[in-house]
């Protein structure tokens, strides 16, 4: 029975519950307004950004600045800014739609994100009233461009160990900043920088955040980095040489800079994933078109099974990721409905509830994009290796997504870390779920099986959940608190968690919008994901026990994962033929 009013889903609950399809927002559920936002952004990208891509890649910053201003006119810069400060304050789903559509033009998308995301949102969430009134209306119109300066040469992942210092001036009117921030997106043309430094008094160092305007004395930027990709986005150092920052420009509180730094990340990761979905669709569309017209051995290469297999798998993974992105945004929006959106603390807390899901999205989507652009180059053969074809750029532009917004290693470590924290603080009954799977395994039964529509798929998800709980449970038993130091184990567990979220989302999306082709997509994905889960599970179990214990555990894992392989050759062929027939990603 469909529940009339469903309760708010807890972050991470997908691991231990059977998800009702009504609780999953899918891309097919977009409202009329959301569809219009999608069309508008798509049209803007097509008509105004794509034709100027060469100038953008050649670092003609005036072109980029003008396009940001156009984004301002269309309202794209203030999606997450309250209306009283010149923004639109829209839902997170709309925010994902815009990021997805901009994902087609990677360099500009990063410029956009550096400004409207990490450059603007710290002021929305942590700014004093005067900061908001002074900066936000200008930022929403791109009359000022912002940047975010956290990383340094010696501290990226370990950002809190930054060396830049901030010392009070003798008269107490200013903070004097000294140091060099590195990798700062938009630095060439930014008017202001949300900058992190250690407020220093004697031996005491307090990590803090400051609004640094470009025109303040002692502020300058270095030379452009020579990057592998994203050549149309500016990346420079921010040099602070006795830079004088007015005392009122502290963002948040002295010593609370990490709040600013960490709270901005969740949405940033989700939007990165949405952009990666847009990038994947773009590379896939280019590949379908190329495969149809390229002739080898007297036939279009799209008629070869090896190429079909690639096109299909690119589409499968893109579809899966797309579902995860919109599901997560939907979860946030549901939760945001029940909080006072005027209170930034409540808004951040609602978003943070899904921090695990955001990390999953970031890792999963960036790796799918890398897979897709790699296959796109392969499908183009030698031409894929030539700058004559856009896939060469897609390939270079994709790579950084696994590095910034928290490297994929850091995020993979965060996923189980955050889940365990939620378990021990009582927010997620993970330990009880582990115990129940252990009991089930010991009793040699196999629990109750889902029945009814999509029983096979739902049962696959359940098997995967249980396998994960069994494996994670035995790792926790073995390592206890020192599991934090077992990074290899945590990485495997993370992979399993990601696959469970992916499968659970895909099955719910299929149940909501069942179609034959979608059934092919889902079973193809599940087939491989369950094999991956088995692989990871075996690695972890072998690292946690040996002898009889290991044998028992392995046989339990085998018993839990009873998925019978499906004919993915046939399924991928059908998916590929659909793509070739339509000429674009049309799933």
């Amino acid at each position: 029975m469909a529940k009339e009013v469903t309760e708010l889903k807890k972050g991470g609950s997908f691991l231990i519950e059977e998800t009702a399809k009504e609780d999953v927002f899918t891309p097919e559920d977009l409202s009329e307004e959301q569809k219009m936002i999608r069309e508008m952004t798509e049209q803007f990208v097509e008509d105004e950004v794509v034709p100027q891509q060469e100038q953008i890649e050649n670092k003609q910053w005036d072109v980029t600045r003008n396009l940001l201003r156009r984004c301002g006119e269309l309202g794209l810069l203030g999606i997450e800014v309250p209306e009283e400060y010149g923004g639109e304050n829209l839902d997170k789903i709309s925010s994902m739609i815009v990021s997805e559509k901009l994902g087609r033009v990677a360099s500009f998308a990063v410029t956009y994100g550096g400004h409207s995301g990490i450059g603007t949102l710290p002021i929305v969430y942590f700014g004093a009233e005067e900061h908001k009134r002074k900066y936000l209306p200008l930022l929403c119109k791109a009359e000022k461009i912002s940047a975010y300066a956290l990383s340094e040469a010696s501290s990226g992942s370990d950002a809190l160990s930054a060396k830049t210092t901030a010392v009070r001036s003798a008269d107490g009117s200013h903070w004097i900043l000294n140091g060099e921030k590195m990798w700062i997106t938009n630095a060439a043309f930014a008017d202001m920088f949300v900058t992190f430094a250690q407020a220093t008094q004697g031996d005491q160092k307090q990590f803090s955040c400051f609004i640094v305007e470009k025109d303040y004395p002692g502020v300058s930027t270095g030379a452009e980095e020579h990057k592998m990709g994203l050549k149309g986005s500016s990346t420079r150092t921010l040099v602070l040489d006795n830079a004088r920052i007015p005392i009122d420009n502290v963002l948040g509180e002295i010593g609370k800079g990490h709040h600013v730094a960490f709270n901005i990340l969740n949405m940033g990761r989700a939007k990165l994933a949405a952009g990666a979905v847009g990038g994947s669709k773009t590379a896939l569309n280019a590949s379908i078109a190329y495969a149809k017209q390229r002739v080898a051995f007297g036939k279009p290469i799209s008629s070869f099974g090896a190429i079909k297999q690639k096109l299909a798998e690119m589409a499968v993974r893109t579809w899966i990721t797309e579902g995860m992105v919109y599901r997560t945004a939907g979860l946030m929006d549901r939760r945001l409905e029940s909080v006072d959106v005027k209170d930034p603390k409540q808004v951040l807390k609602a978003i943070e509830e899904y921090a695990v899901e955001c990390s999953i999205l970031k890792v999963f989507a960036s790796e799918v994009l890398d897979f897709v652009v790699d296959e796109a180059v392969q499908i183009h053969g030698g031409f894929g290796y030539s700058a004559e074809y856009p896939v060469e750029r897609y390939y270079r532009d994709s790579r950084v997504n696994r590095i910034f917004e928290g490297t994929n290693e850091i995020n993979r470590l965060l996923i189980p870390g955050m889940l365990l924290k939620r378990a021990s603080s009582g927010q997620l009954p993970l330990h009880a779920a582990v115990r129940s799977v252990m009991d089930e395994v010991m009793s040699a039964g196999i629990g109750n099986e889902p029945s009814g529509p999509f029983a096979r798929e739902r049962s696959g998800v359940k098997q995967a959940q249980k396998a994960l709980l069994l494996v994670a449970g035995s790792a926790i038993q073995r390592f206890r608190d020192s599991i934090r130091d077992e990074q290899e184990v945590l990485m495997h567990i993370s992979n399993m968690v990601m696959d469970v979220y992916a499968m659970d989302t895909a099955v719910c999306r299929l149940m909501k919008n069942s179609g034959e082709l979608h059934a092919d997509v889902v079973s193809t994905f599940m087939n491989d994901a369950i094999a991956d889960i088995k692989f990871s599970g075996r690695q972890v179990l072998a690292a946690t026990g040996d002898g009889d214990t290991l044998r028992i555990q392995l046989s339990a894992l085998r018993r839990l994962l009873r998925w019978t392989p499906v004919n993915t050759v046939g399924a991928r062929r059908r998916i590929a033929e659909h793509l070739i027939d339509h000429g674009v990603y049309a799933l």
Partner: protein, 265 residues
């Protein structure tokens, strides 16, 4: 100034078109519809005239759910209100029946100073609806318009029209008038996010044939002056013939063939 801008919903140009079983039209149940391109230019022109002279811009569309959708997009672009002519009886209209239905709606709305339509639609493209609409309304009209200047005080319009062979002309018309707007007259704006959100709160009313006081024989298929007998994909026929000989001989043979066989000169 009171302006009414007409919008025809047409299949998205990116769609794959498949002819229906009875071969009288395309299968349109799975298609997405957008505003016919010329109608975007017309609406943009209406919005610019309003920005210059104040007034009210209403948009008008006849069709099913797809018409409601293009109307909502028009509201998001900035139109003040929308009228949806919605009735199963409107189905199968030709230009004549469509024009009469649109005219009745405009009259019911109290008439207008200026009615804009596209020069021709993206799908059928006969270019007749606007002119017939003017005739039904008894308004002045000008076609293929590439520039509009309005003088609301004097109630006159100065309109630039595109003629054949790169020649333009300027004509003056009195209010009320119907103009059919040429492609490229302006650069249509996108709906902004604010516009999209504001569209939800704007008026979108639906009128049926009965609301317009139109009897069944005047609307839809019964009201049409012609019937589509068959829709088909043109057969692709090409024949290549290489004419040999010296340049002079070949030229002579070519002229002969063009005259006698192809009958094109």
């Amino acid at each position: 100034m009171k302006i009414i801008s007409c919008i025809k919903p047409v299949p998205d140009p990116a769609s794959r078109l498949i002819i229906n079983e009875s071969k009288t039209w395309i299968k349109d149940n799975d298609l997405t519809f957008v505003a016919s391109e010329a109608d975007n230019y017309a609406l943009e022109e209406a919005l610019r005239l309003k920005e210059k002279h104040q007034g009210d811009v209403a948009i008008l569309s006849m069709g099913g759910d797809e018409a409601a959708r293009v109307l909502r997009s028009g509201l998001a672009m900035g139109a003040d209100r929308a009228i949806h002519l919605l009735d199963p009886k409107f189905k199968g209209a030709d230009e004549f029946a469509a024009a009469e239905t649109l005219a009745k709606a405009i009259e019911k709305d109290g008439g207008a100073d200026l009615v804009l339509a596209g020069v021709q639609s993206d799908d059928l493209g006969t270019g007749m609806t606007g002119v017939m609409l003017a005739e039904f309304l008894g308004y002045a009209h000008a076609t293929v318009v590439i520039g509009v200047e309005a003088d609301p005080a004097a109630k006159t319009l100065k309109v630039k029209r595109e003629l054949e062979g790169g020649i333009n002309e300027t004509v003056e018309l009195p209010f009320p008038a119907v103009l059919t707007i040429q492609f490229g007259i302006n650069q249509p704006r996108y709906a902004s996010l604010k516009g999209i959100m504001a569209a939800k709160k704007k008026e979108l009313k639906a009128w049926s044939a009965a609301d317009l006081g139109l009897s069944d024989n005047l609307v839809g298929k019964p009201g049409a002056m012609y019937e589509v007998k068959e829709v088909f994909v043109p057969e692709r026929k090409s024949r290549v013939e290489i004419i040999t000989g010296t340049a002079e001989e070949a030229a002579a043979k070519l002229v002969e063939k063009l005259r006698k066989e192809a009958k094109v000169i």
